[in-house]
């Protein structure tokens, strides 16, 4: 018991450094997912038929294939086939981002569809172009509506980031496993790693709840 405790205390600084890597992966993936997910959602809702089909296929593919398979496919296969030499960290972040984009596009799509259709008509009647109406009328509301869905997605990406260990990204899981296989204190170390993830989920979800409150428009109910 005490040995395990000592092992955890000794490994803690090393594991905490890993949590910085995890945070890097999660932020990169969420950012990529956001910047890809919004245009994908706009395309899904307002795009022409052929574009919708392509985006639909993208979403179907990235939601249907397991994360681990996609990581292997991109890191060992497609990236080197295309002649790009990404580090494990960037490859993991990009793949997680591409997957997150597929999921986030569904969150934004749901939010856009939940807005009353009359708003777009009203914007057109006021002489706004479609692009302007989407940018200044639809998106500001849809993004606010998406924050709860986004906080769900955050906790999923955070947990999925542990899988990038399979590529050798030195995040929490990889470091824990490394220490565990040297000290043989597997159980206490993994429990400590689990607690770190729990804490990070908790902090992130709390932060997003504060964001949700801060961006709320008084008198605008949703």
């Amino acid at each position: 018991m005490t040995e395990g405790f000592v092992a955890v205390i000794n490994a803690l600084p090393y594991m905490l450094k890993g949590s910085l890597v995890t945070i890097g992966v999660v932020f990169g993936a969420m950012g990529l997912g956001l910047s890809l997910g919004v245009p994908l959602a706009v395309g899904l809702v307002y795009g022409p038929g052929w574009l919708r089909k392509i985006i639909g296929f993208y979403v179907w593919f990235f939601r249907g294939v397991p994360l681990l398979v996609l990581l292997f496919l991109f890191y060992f296969g497609l990236f080197s086939w295309m002649g790009i030499n990404f580090s494990a960290f960037s490859a993991g972040t990009i793949v997680l981002g591409l997957i997150s984009a597929a999921y986030q596009s569904q969150i934004f799509r749901g939010a856009m569809l939940s807005l009353p259709e009359g708003q777009l008509k009203a914007a057109r009647a006021l002489g706004m172009s479609d692009v302007k109406a989407i940018l200044f009328i639809i998106l500001p509301q849809a993004l606010r509506l998406s924050v709860p869905g986004w906080s769900n997605e955050y906790s999923i990406v955070l947990k999925d980031s542990a899988v990038t260990y399979a590529l050798g990204v030195a995040e929490i899981m990889a470091r824990t496993h490394f220490v565990a296989s040297r000290t043989y204190q597997h159980l206490p170390l993994y429990i400590a790693a689990g607690m770190m993830y729990l804490l990070m989920t908790y902090i992130g979800v709390k932060g997003l709840r504060i964001l949700e409150k801060n961006v709320r428009i008084p008198g605008y109910s949703y």
Binding site: V69, L70, G77, V163, M173, H186, L187
Partner: protein, 224 residues
């Protein structure tokens, strides 16, 4: 041409073996997960305070800790107590417990969505507690929970690939071994991905079919 022959004679048979192991992982995990989910979901709605608290803690832990960490705890951690699980058993245990925690959320939501008035009405009509559960609460709640639980099944199919991380060689593991022998990563993992897409799409079709079969006119349930 040579590649096609290789894929046909070496890759596909091996991947089909892996697929079989994946299915053997998914079926017990899904069934056990559902049973755990129903028990936990019911406990979180109907049980007394201590049991409810315990169930809530279970769900918070198993939903909050990444599945990889859970797998490693069952496989590498338990020998700490002298308990040795095979990779396969460790995976099934981890998948069932994690999946059960997610199922319990959907079941709980569905149970809470049944209006209190219905239970009062059932009591007024002289239903016993069990009879009420069996013929009034569950038929509605399970229908409402079906879309969510179906999603969870699809997640389980995808996350079954993580069993490879504790050296349970299923579909992904077979793919990895073949790919590192032949260096045909792109081709082999595209095929592995296609296998999973087929599994996931089949499960989706089956669930859609079940939802339609079970739908009652006038009783709406929300698709997710």
């Amino acid at each position: 041409m040579e590649e096609l022959v290789y894929i046909q004679h070496e890759v596909l048979p091996s991947l089909f073996q892996g697929l079989w192991i994946s299915v053997l992982l998914i079926i017990p995990s899904a069934s056990l997960g559902l049973v755990i989910g129903i028990l936990m979901g019911a406990a979180r709605v109907f049980a007394g305070r201590p049991v409810m608290m315990a169930a809530n803690i279970y769900v918070a832990l198993f939903r909050g800790i990444p599945l990889v960490v859970q797998l490693f705890i069952w496989y590498f951690g338990l020998p700490y107590f002298g308990i040795y699980f095979s990779p396969f058993l460790a995976s099934v245990v981890a998948f069932s417990l994690c999946s059960g925690a997610y199922h319990s959320e959907y079941i709980r939501g569905a149970l809470l969505s049944i209006k209190k008035g219905q239970m009062l009405a059932a009591e007024a009509l002289g239903f016993g507690r069990l009879e009420m559960l069996r013929s009034i609460v569950l038929p509605q709640a399970l229908r409402r929970a079906l879309p969510g639980c179906g999603n969870e099944l699809i997640y389980l199919i995808k996350y079954s690939s993580l069993a490879y991380m504790v050296t349970c060689i299923e579909l992904t593991g077979k793919g990895k071994i073949l790919a590192s022998h032949s260096f045909k990563y792109t081709e082999i993992f595209l095929i592995v991905g296609a296998f999973y897409l087929v599994l996931v799409s089949l499960a989706g079709l089956l669930l859609r079919h079940m939802e339609n079969r079970l739908s009652l006119p006038g009783f709406e349930f929300h698709r997710t």
